[in-house]
């Protein structure tokens, strides 16, 4: 997923950042794939934690600590669970998103990955509340992320590198919101394929 969208993410980052978001995440998720291929833990929490630690030590930039923290916190929320139900997914996403907010101090509307992730976690909560199926819930969550991602375009950035552009950052879609949507979409698609939910985040491609 990330490798396929490397140039797209980098092009978005070239417009309002420093043209590295795609290669940053590609480097990180390639390392994650290798780590998980070498030994895939049974525990979903351990998979998320390993993903997070690997991103932390390979991505760098703003997105490294943010996505690193995201997965580490998700891992903590899923500790000891071999399979995840919708409630687990929702709790994990809550924990992950709060991790990003804690690390990055961004507010909604600052034109960051949070602007895709916050609506996504709301959608997942709602779906859980109305008793939706896991695949359907994750799809709804990805759809909300997509909407949030698109809504970043007119915003003036207040966090990250794009904030240096001031008004000129408006009119461009945020790269981090875009990668967040792509990750959630990949999760939704994987779960929908594996039918009855529960596979951990796929070794991203």
């Amino acid at each position: 997923m990330v490798a396929a969208n490397r140039n797209y993410l980098t092009a978005l980052d070239a417009a309002i950042g420093d043209a590295d978001h795609g290669s940053n995440l590609d480097r990180g998720f390639t390392a994650v794939r290798e780590k998980l291929a070498a030994s895939l833990p049974d525990d979903t929490g351990a998979v998320f934690r390993l993903t997070g630690m690997t991103l932390l030590s390979t991505v760098g930039g703003a997105s490294g600590p943010l996505y690193g923290t995201f997965f580490v916190r998700m891992g903590k929320a899923c500790e000891g669970k071999a399979e995840l139900g919708l409630g687990d997914w929702s709790a994990a996403l809550d924990a992950g998103v709060e991790g990003i907010a804690f690390r990055g101090h961004a507010e909604p509307g600052d034109k960051t990955m949070l602007d895709a992730l916050l609506p996504a976690r709301e959608a997942l909560r709602e779906a859980a509340a109305r008793g939706a199926g896991l695949a359907e819930a994750l799809a709804a969550s990805a759809a909300a992320a997509e909407e949030g991602m698109r809504a970043t375009t007119p915003l003036v950035a207040r966090r990250g590198r794009a904030s240096y552009l001031g008004e000129r950052s408006a009119g461009h879609q945020d790269p981090g919101a875009t990668s967040a949507y792509l990750l959630l979409k990949a999760a939704a698609e994987t779960i929908s394929k594996s039918a009855s939910g529960c596979a951990p985040m796929p070794p991203a491609r």
Partner: protein, 332 residues
């Protein structure tokens, strides 16, 4: 893309290998994870200075490792801040038992990764202090944004705080010196051309033949605005104005004036820039007591320049003059 490189993905490691080969007496390079340390370190009893950031700003930071300046530097990928594990390893390698000062340019990536590194160092029982450099007046400052970028003042802070550490000052004192350099410095830059990130292969932005980007940082980010190309003298005025107003610098102030090249701008042009800057500062009643002209904090192959002014005091001046022996700054 025309560059003297091999595989674009190998640029950082190969340049580090070249740096190590070129300066064996001054520094040692570690590749996994990436960090550069003084060849004669760690210096027991001395506060260690550690910095780092994305690559592509050479000689910053790796070229400033050596006596009187940095004890270690952590280079990230091009324009991407390094990771906490690199910083943690570098911290352990540089630590001489008197504490470690992180000099961090104010970019979200650098800040967050150094923040995590600080947590890791604490787990190892190493005392760490951090100083944030944010001298770029092109960025509107506000509590609710990422704030100003760290640019030219980074070089000055690393030199001056490095001298303070070399003198045997305590971690708190060295941190105070670095903080003071940052508080008394202001910078602004312009680009004549974009730079090209090796892994991207195309210029990050396109500038017309008669355009300049005003208020650029050091990562090929577009600047605050685009303006028509103009004479060097007018560009100096464009840069000096906001700098002088911001601190503000006032008649009678003693300053260090630093004209920096962005990577592809030759020295001939930098001296033309410095000429007007010196004249302008004198006209404003400032006393230029030290100068630095050259490409010290760059943005790959970008053409352009930045101006940094530091309002010195007697202590900062003495520390600036103190001996330094690094690949990129050497005197005394």
């Amino acid at each position: 893309m025309k560059k003297l490189i091999n595989d674009p993905g190998d640029v950082v490691d190969e340049a580090l290998e070249g740096l190590a080969a070129a300066h064996p007496d001054t520094l040692r390079v570690n590749l996994k994870p990436r960090y550069v340390v003084r060849a004669d370190g760690p210096i027991v009893g001395k506060v260690a200075l550690v910095s780092g950031g994305g690559s592509g700003h050479e000689p910053l930071h790796t070229g400033y490792v050596g006596r009187g300046m940095l004890d270690a530097a952590c280079p990230g990928p091009v324009f991407t801040s390094p990771t906490p594990d690199q910083m943690a390893e570098a911290t352990k390698a540089a630590d001489g038992g008197a504490g470690v000062l992180y000099i961090v340019k104010n970019y979200t990536g650098d800040v967050l990764n150094f923040e995590i590194a600080t947590e890791l160092a604490a787990e190892e029982g190493i005392e760490v202090a951090s100083v944030l450099i944010n001298d770029d007046v092109a960025v509107t400052d506000s509590l609710y944004t990422a704030g100003r970028r760290g640019v030219g003042a980074t070089v000055l802070a690393e030199k001056i705080a490095g001298a303070a550490a070399e003198e045997g000052r305590s971690l708190a004192e060295v941190a105070a010196v670095a903080r003071s350099v940052n508080e008394r410095s202001r910078s602004m830059g312009i680009a004549l051309t974009s730079c090209t990130v090796p892994l991207v292969g195309r210029p990050t932005f396109e500038l017309g033949a008669d355009e300049i980007e005003v208020g650029i940082g050091i990562h090929g980010e577009p600047g605050r605005r685009r303006e028509p190309l103009r004479a060097a003298d007018e560009i100096v005025e464009l840069l000096a104005g906001p700098i002088l107003e911001d601190l503000p610098f006032e008649p009678g102030n003693e300053v260090l004036a630093f004209v920096n090249g962005m990577g592809a701008t030759p020295l001939l042009e930098l001296f033309i820039v410095y000429r007007r800057l010196a004249e302008l500062l004198e006209d404003r009643g400032l006393r230029v007591v030290r100068r630095l002209v050259g490409s010290y904090i760059t943005s790959l192959d970008m053409a352009g320049c930045s101006v940094t002014l530091l309002k010195v005091d007697q202590d900062l001046l003495r520390l600036w003059d103190a001996p330094v022996a690094t690949p990129a700054l050497t005197w005394g």
